[in-house]
């Protein structure tokens, strides 16, 4: 019995402490270093922050370069697919175009009316956009985010909204000197204050870790009141983080409260980082 226990101890000791010919560090040392790094990354010391920024800068750039061949292949496949579907797409676009023309006329009128009304209550909203390229969109099952090529040197700040065309795709959660990380709406940790139209219901759009979102913190009976309606979720602007009125997604009839995001997060190439000012705010 004692011999068996001794064998176990020897095997464990040998596994953790013994270095093979080509190993420069023992496993135990590196495990302790890993734990030390995890503990350190939990603190917000200035030195650690700078170290983190440096590591991020180097690794993001290297990862972007390493992904170039794969991105090229993806681009070629996408081009071929687009060429094959050209007729079908053309027909769809014609129908869509007609609808857009009609909506545009109505939209012009509503925008002008909205401006007039905002002037009456002395609340104007101005916004600034920073165009950014998506450097890395390595999705993981644990954190859905993208790396953008704009950072503190371009005045990007944590919390800014990230927009694809006119649709909200996420918010900035980490800023380095030349790049930043945006948390996508689909991530479990994403919570966006929103308003559900046409019934003007306040809610929080939360990521579900998948390609859709869910509605949280709203009226208990919101499902009944929105039954048989197509509901659009917009940012409400509550909390002052996002500009109000940015389209987020759509709740289809019978979708059981699941939000289908307008933007396809797998196809993001260029995005806009948005900052805004309300009224006379500085």
């Amino acid at each position: 019995m004692a011999t068996g226990r001794d064998d176990f101890v020897i095997a464990i000791r040998s596994a953790f402490l013994k270095k093979k010919d080509k190993q420069k560090f023992s496993l135990l040392t590196l495990i302790f270093v890993s734990i030390f790094v995890i503990v350190l990354s939990n603190f917000n010391f200035k030195i650690i922050q700078y170290l983190k920024l440096g590591i991020n800068e180097i690794i993001y750039r290297s990862s972007y370069i390493a992904s170039v061949p794969e991105n090229k292949i993806r681009e070629i496949v996408s081009d071929i697919r687009s060429h094959l579907n050209i007729y079908e797409n053309h027909q769809k676009i014609l129908i869509k175009n007609e609808n857009i023309e009609q909506t545009k006329l109505l939209n012009n009128f509503l925008t002008a009316e909205n401006k007039k009304l905002r002037k009456l209550i002395d609340e104007s909203i101005s916004s600034e956009e920073i165009f950014a390229k998506v450097l890395i969109d390595k999705d993981s099952p644990y954190l859905k985010s993208v790396i953008l090529n704009k950072g503190t040197k371009d005045n990007v700040k944590i919390g800014m909204a990230v927009i694809d065309e006119v649709y909200l795709v996420g918010q900035i959660i980490e800023v380095n000197y030349t790049n930043s990380r945006a948390l996508l709406l689909s991530d479990l940790n994403s919570k966006i204050p929103s308003v559900l139209e046409p019934d003007d219901i306040q809610a929080v759009v939360s990521g579900a870790g998948s390609n859709f979102g869910t509605i949280e913190h709203t009226q208990e009976d919101y499902k009944e009141s929105l039954e048989n309606k197509v509901v659009i979720a917009y940012t409400s602007g509550l909390g002052g983080l996002f500009k109000p009125g940015i389209p987020i997604g759509k709740i289809d009839i019978g979708s059981n409260g699941k939000i289908r995001f307008f933007s396809d997060f797998t196809q993001l190439n260029y995005v806009k980082i948005l900052s805004f000012k309300v009224g006379g705010e500085k």
Partner: protein, 172 residues
């Protein structure tokens, strides 16, 4: 002379192949760990580290594995050090298995992989969810563990073939 140079280059290249694959997998955007498919994902890096540290540990240094973990954390966006710790725990298990076995047995290795995967994924979930308060989908981890375990025999055949080639080239 030229053929001699070529063969020595090939020898060096092939002996570094596991490291190249490891760093390519953590740097690259393409990730088996997230294929955008519902209920399907597996962790290629775990399989790679498990096989090579078990069968030919000289080709994959612990420090490089630690470094790959740091890179993986930065690219994915989780707190730095978590993947390194998980990869090194995987290495500890393989080192222990190597110490207690005289003749390698595929089935025993395969079963120990399952327990190791459950252990390291549990550690990762505990650190992310309880310490860093990052919400994670438990079901994704379970699916990932399951498929990583299932895919081991396929990658075992591929890596074993590569290992034989490397041994043949380096002993040549």
């Amino acid at each position: 002379m030229s053929s001699l140079n070529k063969s020595s280059f090939l020898k060096i290249f092939i002996s570094y192949l596991p490291i190249i694959i490891l760093f390519f997998s953590v740097f690259n955007e393409f990730d088996f760990n997230y294929l955008n498919l519902d209920y399907f994902a597996f962790n290629f890096v775990h399989l790679l580290i498990f096989f090579w540290t078990l069968r030919n540990p000289d080709l994959l240094g612990y420090f490089l594995i630690f470094l790959a973990g740091i890179i993986n954390d930065v690219v994915i966006g989780i707190p730095i050090g978590i993947s390194s710790l998980c990869y090194l725990i995987l290495c500890s298990v393989t080192a222990y298995i190597r110490n207690i076995t005289l003749t390698p047995n595929f089935i025993k290795d395969w079963i120990s992989l399952l327990f190791t995967l459950l252990l390291i994924n549990s550690i990762q979930v505990i650190i992310l969810d309880l310490i860093f308060l990052i919400k994670v989908e438990y079901i994704n981890y379970l699916i990932n563990t399951g498929f990583t375990f299932i895919f081991y025999p396929i990658f075992f055949v591929i890596f074993n073939f590569l290992n034989e080639k490397i041994s043949y080239q380096t002993n040549d």
